[in-house]
Amino acid sequence: MDKLLSLWYGSGIYNLTFGQTTMIVIGFLLLYLAIRRNFEPLLLVPIGFGGIVANIPEAGLAYSAVEQMANMASNAQLAELASVLGAPVESAKQLITAYHNAPSAVQAAAEHLAADSGYNNGMLYQFYNVAIASGVAPLVIFMGVGAMTDFGPLLANPKTLFLGAAAQFGIFTTVIGALALTSFGLMDFSVAQAAAIGIIGGADGPTAIYVSSMLAPELLGAIAVAAYSYMALVPLIQPPIMRALTTEQERQIEMSQLRPVSQREKIIFPLVLLVLVALLLPDAAPLLGMFCFGNLMRECGVVDRLSDTAQNALINTVTIFLGLSVGSKLVADKFLQAETLGILALGIVAFCVGTAAGVLMAKLLNRFSSTPINPLIGSAGVSAVPMAARVSNKVGLEANPHNFLLMHAMGPNVAGVIGSAVAAGVMIKYVTGG
């Protein structure tokens, strides 16, 4: 009978909290958006599923062994844990905070104690540690993205790099926005957290995850969800802004056909980019280094079997575990904070400002240049490859049915990836290295 009761007391339905219920509903919402509305499904299916699994009551899949001990142990065990951590036992939450703030040798001791008491790291927590905390998963995805990226359009018209630069304005505006919310007492973001939130404006998933895992891992769940959701919403967010900032005449501008780009240029470009990163911004070296490496494998023509694996089995495997790991940050007590609403609100601002900045920069370039640029391709500078480029093409076709902007927009589009990674390097340097 005791055993039967223990089964009941240990069941999910007996222990389900309101927060967990909410988060499970949010997980289903993400799955719905991914599957029915095609919102970046490759990431949002694993993230949504991970979010549901993370909130299964009593399973503790998103928690470390020490966190589980703090949540579930008997008083005697808690006292032992508290003495290891050198903190008073007042609540599970305080013990967990003490654990996170403890020096790493003390953390190791607490982990030994939890292991001896029979607690294990949850499945999603393990995935998070291996995939994200180590920094490996975003880097491997960046390598695969590099191996999938064709820099041809960019090389044919390098000026479009400026559009990719301008669109990063969204990132830094958002940082200021986050700090303004803090100044007005509405939220409480540190500079590191504001920087991590800003990177949503980069419209680039792995960059956002990489930066927030370094600067503000506690916000990673909200930041990743915001980044991928808004990337999926690009076809709704961008067109009104693009139309508002351009005249009908500007939207009709036809661009001259791109020159062919030789394979040798494509091979040398990632190396040129790598050298610039090495000389100017070492802090962006992991992200852009792996990106350049993937692209070199793609273009050099002698390691196609490696490039093929980087573009398929490897990136798919890492995507699965990255998504589930991000899901582990959707546990109720970490996600259901006022800050999350702030992040979602700031994220949409970031996308809007980035879009506007890209379009305006294109108009500015037209003042100084003889070969005209259709300002609609400026919005593609926010990254969100290849969605933003398609949006440029679509809005362009509305104004001029013979005007195919897709290939022209791929230039600023991949420039936006580089620009965001550079911005990420600057922010990491500023916040940690300052």
């Binding site: 990132i171 100044s183 040798r264 494509k266």
Partner: protein, 90 residues
């Protein structure tokens, strides 16, 4: 940190950040254009390539598989044959 300090930090970060992004990408524009010009000058009539798929038969290490291509071909060949048989049936 006072709220003015915070906003100051933010403005600072925007200034440095956007400044650096522009400096970096400007240099990339310059160096890339320069590189393209040199490459085009040194190989004037190279036929344009459309991708890097001239897969060489290089082995991954000091041991390779001269038979791998025929194997792959065999598998695909079989697949096609079965596919046709199936289509013939249905």
């Amino acid at each position: 940190m006072s709220s003015a300090d915070l906003m100051g930090e933010g403005l600072n970060l925007m200034l440095f950040g956007m400044g650096f992004v522009f400096v970096f990408l400007t240099m990339l524009v310059i160096v890339t254009s320069f590189m393209s010009r040199i490459v085009q000058a040194t190989q004037p009539e190279q036929p344009q390539t459309t991708g890097g798929n001239n897969m060489p038969a290089t082995p991954i290490t000091g041991a390779a598989d001269p038979a791998s291509d025929p194997v792959l071909l065999g598998i695909i060949g079989d697949a096609i044959k079965q596919h046709r048989i199936k289509q013939g049936r249905s």
